[in-house]
Symmetry: C2
Subunit: 474 residues, 2 copies
């Protein structure tokens, strides 16, 4: 039977390979968990199963979080007249990474970057609502972008051709640039600490400022000396504020700015089996190019007065959601925080071979499972025996890694409790709780682990509830 099933599996996988469609896990990324995504066409990840839940929950949290922080929430197109990218300069400088095609006689492009759209939205606001548009103007999008990468350089979820950015643009008056930069950093800190349960401390975090070479302003670095100086002063002022407030060190790299503006990156050092790696988290990047190309400076001055100077800042907290997922799963050894976990609860029935008691165990497990499902959680049932227990636990701990495991055995049904084992990211291990149960055992379980949702409640005002019976993943 096992063999026959393998034959079937092989048939379908072969079939997929033949098609170059390959719904398969990518084994080149360490600890990358195939419960999240697979690939369909080189470099094009497909999110299904766990990945689907992760994506919808994450994007929902990101949208609310940004909305709460005063960002407008947009959804911009995937395809556009390539003229847009001619105006933005992408066709000239980024063409080799763009997917282009024709509709009737018009050149179209698949969006490689969200920025031109966000700027158009701002300009359109300005034209319609004039002074009613408050500055800083902040706009957020979970933006799906596509870029060409040579097939040889594709690497798991780390380098793909289709990805989603937690992309935002801030159009800020010069005098509010420092405040805006500091607030970006604080948003990143909140997201990493409250949602992803990472600790950002002065030992692990450094800020890198990529600045111009002053000699080359006007040649290699476009824009005016005043722009560069004001922007770089704002970056340094922001870095100092963050050092004072949180103790984070920063360093400057002169000449390392992009040709269109200086930037600040947040670098996290992580140690992995004795090897120290650098993980780039958030970034905030000035852009002196796009506002010129889209005539934003003039538009703002006509509304707010000739003396108004603004900056456009690109920023991302996670960068590519795909890349982040990959690095994060590596960092946590495949452990997702509870609100994003494909399997939030595994309810384990430990049978003993006595039909009467086993029936009670099965009944309680089912009640808890169904109750959790009805409350909006993703949960699955594992049936095991005392002798198979350790093997089954090892299996689910090495594959899907449920956020919370609930054990129900003979002692539990007899004494009226369940054993609840949530994984605690801060401790990097599970803890064990004996939870006495009443008429609604699932509510007792939820109550016991409710602190797992504290961070996301603080961040987004609610915890996502996209339920699913995910027993098949266990």
């Amino acid at each position: 039977m096992q063999k026959e099933n393998e034959k079937i599996a092989k048939t379908h996988m072969d079939y997929a390979y033949e098609l170059d469609l390959v719904i398969k896990p990518d084994s080149r990324v360490p600890l990358f968990d195939r419960e999240y995504a697979a690939f369909s066409g080189a470099g094009v990840p497909l999110f299904s199963l766990g990945g689907g839940y992760y994506r919808y929950a994450l994007i929902d949290i990101l949208a609310r979080f940004h909305a709460k922080r005063g960002y407008f929430i947009a959804e911009t197109p995937i395809i556009a007249s390539s003229y847009l990218y001619q105006v933005s300069g992408h066709i000239e400088f980024f063409r080799q990474n763009m997917f282009l095609f024709k509709i009737e006689d018009h050149d179209f492009a698949i969006k490689p970057m969200n920025c031109p759209y966000h700027i158009l939205v701002f300009l359109s606001h300005l034209a319609r609502f004039r002074q009613k548009v408050a500055l800083p103007f902040k706009i957020f999008e979970a933006g799906r972008v596509h870029r060409y990468e040579p097939s040889g350089s594709l690497y798991g979820l780390l380098r793909v051709r289709a990805f989603t950015q937690d992309d935002a643009h801030i159009i800020t008056p010069e005098e509010k640039a420092v405040e805006s930069l500091v607030s970006v950093f604080e948003e990143m800190k909140l997201l990493m600490e409250k949602l992803f349960l990472m600790k950002l401390d002065p030992e692990s975090i450094t800020l890198r400022l990529s600045l111009s070479d002053k000699e080359k302003i006007g040649t290699e670095f476009m824009g005016t000396r005043r722009e560069w100086e004001t922007a770089e002063a704002a970056l340094e002022e922001a870095a100092k504020t963050l050092k004072d407030k949180y103790g984070f060190n920063y360093f400057k790299e002169e000449g390392e700015a992009a040709f269109y503006g200086p930037k600040i990156d947040v670098i996290m050092r992580v140690e992995e089996s004795g090897i120290e790696k650098e993980w780039q988290l958030g970034t905030a990047q000035f852009d002196f190019n796009l506002p010129r190309r889209f005539k934003v400076y003039g538009a703002v001055r006509e509304i707010y007065g000739e003396e108004t100077n603004i900056f456009i800042i690109h920023r991302a907290l996670m960068g590519s959601l795909e890349r982040f997922l990959s690095v994060y799963l590596d960092y946590t050894k495949g452990r997702m925080p509870f609100p994003l976990s494909p399997v939030q609860f595994a309810v384990v029935a430990i049978k003993i071979g006595d039909p009467e008691i086993d029936e009670k165990i099965a009944g309680l497990v089912k009640r808890i499972h169904k109750g959790l499902l009805a409350e909006g959680y993703r949960t699955g049932i594992v049936e095991t025996t005392k002798t198979s227990l350790s093997g089954d636990v090892r299996r689910i701990e090495s594959t899907i890694k449920p956020a919370v495991t609930i054990y129900v055995g003979a002692r539990e049904v007899k004494e009226g409790f369940v054993t609840v084992r949530p994984y605690i990211h801060e401790k990097k291990r599970r803890i064990s709780q004996k939870v006495n149960i009443g008429d609604n055992p699932h509510l007792d379980v939820i109550n016991a682990i409710k602190s797992l949702e504290d961070g996301v409640l603080e961040l987004a005002g609610y915890s996502p509830r996209i339920p699913g019976d995910v027993s098949h993943l266990l």
Copy 2:
């Protein structure tokens, strides 16, 4: 000043037109509200502002609603090896509507339909989890698809080149087909009644069954006679059940099925200024073609036994979210239900010219506005006077149409109440409530209108909270 601003507006709009990027409202669609979307490139809608909130809130509700009903939630790629669509047959029969391009030497396509991906996910599940995959297998996606339409046939949001489907596929054993079809209808009914506050009654709703011409099975209609007969019997049985349960009439059109399977459509008659229009709501469509092309029948039988017969059913409750938005705004004259409304609250300060009282009015308005914002709502402030009031009300009622209007004038601050006017879809007008206020006036307001969220709470288990200060829209 006004003139100067017009000049600026014109400059930017001209600029946009020149670029064929056109961030502009589309005036060809009656009552289509430019607060929701604009176009960037012919047929490519851009959601910003109100449209962004609407999209994120709606997709979130749809995901939860479907997850609660047992659907898996997926996100599949936008681009794919065109080989996928060769297998599915789209390249052969649908090529003229597809956007194709090359990556290195591979042909790629922008996804015109989600079905092939959903089938691949199912096959991949089956290969990995075998009998653990429960049937019916249901998979949902808010899937962004792109199809070529000649520029001459583009029409507002009714016919576009880029749109999002509330797309799901149900892979059901033959004997559960009726049940699956009935449940699709019930999902549509729930969504329309609980979220969109439409009344589906036997007077307005008819079901249309598009069936084969029995003579032409095997020639014009592909698949076996047994497939057609079983599927059509299931459709009729489902229609009968719905007639018994809800009183909806149905009619059959023989020979009107697609070549690959029969279907059922839900038709709603709406009367608009004396003209009766037909609005097609949900659809459920059998497909005998894709399971053959993807060898699904064989794969299922190898796992579940040779006697297992399954059907693949495509289904959508809204169809294209863009088209639905357009028709719905027409139907409701621009009124969105509270949970999806870009402006949920307009807080109107009616000043009287007495500085002391006006300050109190402004203070109370601000407190309510900020309180609502903090609770996760989209709210804006309107400042007016007794004499300008009717003009300002007319303006916002004819443009953005807030879901709830709150009035604060001299009497209100003196006597400690506010006037709350929610729009009630069932009554097609606003009602007026005097709401006494205490220490947290925004909570008194929320309490007064909380029934506006009942439907969505029932549907999705929560009401979306994507806050925004949208004063500029008012």
